[in-house]
């Protein structure tokens, strides 16, 4: 018997097994990536996308040993468009993983499409409270942080400072309400104003006049993307920064905002689960490679996008590429270890993370650039969320 014949027999046998075994290893990982890539808040989606693709690239185009087939679409900051894209990826393209969305309202519009069709959604940002509690689902993983968490840490920080009065401002949607609820949960002082504006509002003149009249010690805002950039610029232009301290959630004074606003940002404090200078090897590599590839410093959004790709990589590898078996894959995702750029973290029973939250201050680095630096010990250590008790998952 010559070798070619043996070879073809083996191939034949292999083909036969392929048709018999249902839980076969896939030949690639299909990922649907939906994010906000245009408009004033595009920078956030762009950072998640760029970091996600950087992780894929550093992995040689593979995730978990399988070629990564990532399809990217723009939700245009519109929930209806996001929902359509989810539907397309789930029903037509039959992707293995969905990810990418920045905004909670868009993610919540699309998520039922994924859950109803048993497709796993790995959230690189939006992690709203309803999905953490009563409406939790095995098909949703928050790779980022619960919507309230940054704000809880900020509330705790304000309490540590013995701040007496705080004025709160957020857009009128799910994440806005989650955020201010989070701040108030840990803030012991007096809330002198709590204002909800239209989502996407860009002119804050009326709210700034209110703040001037209310004379709070601290202003805390949850205004992601272009909204926050406009608010901070107008806050400075109105001269309010002379008497009132601005405290921000980490993404509210991150590199994208610093780029847009400039030197006025120096000395602002914020809270986050990640920082450029977190001293772990994975983070050092991430920051260096991101800057090399894109000629800018990564934001929190970028860190979250990168971690999401790392999680997929680790889970697919641990499952030996058998990603068709969803139940087994979900179990793997829950427990698999990977070198997250934030350091150690684990998933709670509701598949939201338990992790540290740090205080950061905007300082000048050795090259004279404005960057966020982590200050002192974590404000909240090994912190979960307040909703897990309502989630029936074990």
């Amino acid at each position: 018997m010559s070798f070619p014949l043996v070879k073809s027999l083996v191939t034949l046998a292999a083909t036969a097994t392929l048709t018999i075994q249902p839980a076969l290893a896939a030949d690639k990982v299909k990922i649907g990536f939906v994010s906000t890539l245009s408009g004033p808040s595009a920078a956030l989606g762009v950072d998640i996308r760029d970091a996600f693709m950087l992780a894929v690239k550093l992995n040689g185009g593979k995730l978990g040993g399988l070629p990564a087939d990532v399809s990217i679409s723009d939700d245009q900051f519109k929930p209806d468009v996001g929902k359509q894209l989810f539907e397309r990826y789930v029903k037509r393209d039959k992707v293995d993983f969905l990810t990418g969305v920045v905004f909670s309202n868009i993610m919540l519009a699309g998520l039922p499409e994924a859950v109803d069709n048993k497709t796993i959604y790995l959230s690189p940002n939006a992690a709203p409270s309803p999905i953490a509690g009563a409406q939790c689902t095995p098909y949703f993983f928050a790779v980022s942080w619960p919507n309230d968490a940054y704000h809880e840490a900020a509330g705790q920080y304000a309490t540590n400072l013995k701040v007496k009065s705080a004025y709160l401002l957020a857009p009128n949607y799910q994440a806005g309400k989650d955020s201010l609820a989070g701040f108030k949960r840990f803030f012991k002082g007096n809330v002198s104003g709590e204002v909800y504006t239209k989502l996407g509002q860009l002119d804050y003149s009326a709210e700034l006049a209110e703040i001037r009249a209310a004379k709070p010690e601290v202003v805390y805002t949850f205004l992601p993307g272009g909204m926050g950039i406009n608010f901070i610029k107008q806050f400075m232009a109105a001269g309010l920064n002379k008497d009132i301290r601005l405290i921000q959630p980490g993404f509210g004074s991150d590199q994208d905002v610093i780029r847009a606003v400039g030197n006025d940002m120096l000395g602002i404090f914020d809270t986050a689960h990640w920082g450029l200078d977190l001293p772990n090897e994975a983070n050092k590599k991430f920051v260096a490679e991101f800057e090399k590839e894109y000629k800018r410093l990564p934001t929190i959004y970028a860190a979250q996008g990168y971690d999401t790709a790392l999680l997929i990589d680790a889970a697919v590898r641990a499952a030996n590429g058998k990603i068709e078996d969803k139940e087994a894959l979900i179990k793997t995702l829950k427990t698999v270890k990977f070198n997250s750029v934030r350091g150690d973290f684990r998933f709670n029973t509701n598949q939201y993370p338990i992790q540290n939250y740090y205080l950061r201050e905007i300082q000048k680095d050795s090259q004279g650039r404005l960057v966020n630096r982590i200050v002192g010990q974590p404000v909240l250590a090994n912190h979960g969320d307040a909703y897990v008790k309502d989630c029936p998952m074990k």
Binding site: A42, N172, Y196, L202, S205, A206, E207, A209, L240, A260
Partner: protein, 300 residues
């Protein structure tokens, strides 16, 4: 309170720039031009691009105003002119198509957004009264808005062209019969409308964001203004715009307070912002109920 009044005035004046062009086109040519907001966007993009190119805010804005006027007149002469004889539905369809075409063209030329900042000298606050700081850039907007409003009044009420415009708005056939060159007048009015759009777009760019689709949101408010003010009346557009500016600004801050006094805190925090965002439409509904032709109708 004074600060809120200034904010309302500033927003109202910018709305007036948009609404005055819209009301003239609607009143004189009996043409519904949904693409008016697209010209506002084109003006803002041109300004952002030219400010970057010339490194001068003033020069960039002036050039963008001129260029947008040219774009507006070209549109009128080539395309919109053929729509005057058609019914309103055809005009709405055609100009809606124009919005989509202009939006995508702008996206192809400049991308989906451009950065435009207020000049450095105007980035800080000025002290108006003891204890009242106000952003200097917003004061400049108020000054520019008032100056243009004044200019427009002189133009409409004191000049021959203004007389033609008023004649056209009040009775088009009669104006034509009296020998007014309607074609040139229409193109001219359209050019002025486009230029006013560009002023608003360029001035508001640093406060909002220069992005594709920015025109649609503000166009709706501009239509509310001309419905309130009365179609075809520049004075009506002015009053309507200031009214809408004030109601929007005041509503956003006073209404939640008012609700908190009357209702439970939970209901107030949910309903306050919701009602504030529809307040201008409530105002429009009331005006339509009491005076269906608007506060100052330009038509006889």
């Amino acid at each position: 309170m004074l600060e809120q009044a200034l904010n309302g005035l500033q927003f109202g004046l910018m709305l007036f720039l948009l609404a005055s062009g819209l009301t003239l086109v609607f009143g004189i040519m009996d043409m519904i031009n949904l693409a008016h907001g697209a010209l506002y966007m084109v003006g803002a993009f041109l300004a952002a691009w030219l400010v970057q190119l010339t490194q001068s805010f003033l020069l960039g804005v002036l050039l963008s105003v001129g260029l947008t006027a040219v774009v507006g007149m070209l549109l009128e002469a080539t395309l919109l002119r053929t729509l005057y004889a058609r019914d309103h539905l055809s005009q709405v369809l055609a100009t809606f198509a124009l919005i989509l075409i202009i939006n995508e063209s702008v996206r192809m030329i400049w991308g989906s957004d451009l950065a435009l900042s207020a000049p450095q000298a105007l980035s800080g606050p000025v002290q108006l009264l003891p204890g009242l700081l106000y952003p200097s850039y917003r004061l400049v907007i108020i000054a520019v808005g008032l100056a243009i409003a004044l200019l427009l009044f002189v133009l409409v009420t004191k000049t021959r062209m203004g007389a033609w415009v008023r004649a056209g708005a009040s009775n088009r056939e009669m104006a034509m019969a009296m020998g007014i060159n309607i074609k040139v007048l229409f193109t001219g009015v359209f050019g002025i409308g486009a230029a006013l759009c560009a002023v608003a777009g360029a001035m508001l760019g640093p406060l909002f964001a220069v992005q594709v689709g920015m025109g649609e949101n503000i166009l709706i408010l501009a239509f509310v203004v001309i419905v309130i003010g009365g179609i075809g009346s520049v004075w009506g557009a002015f009053v309507g715009a200031i009214l809408v500016g004030f109601v929007d600004t005041m509503g956003r801050t006073l209404l939640p307070h008012l609700f908190r006094e009357i209702f439970s805190p939970q209901f107030a925090s949910a309903a306050g912002p919701a009602v504030a965002s529809i307040l201008v439409y409530l105002l429009m509904a009331v005006v339509l109920f009491v005076r269906p032709q608007g506060l100052f109708s330009g038509r006889s």
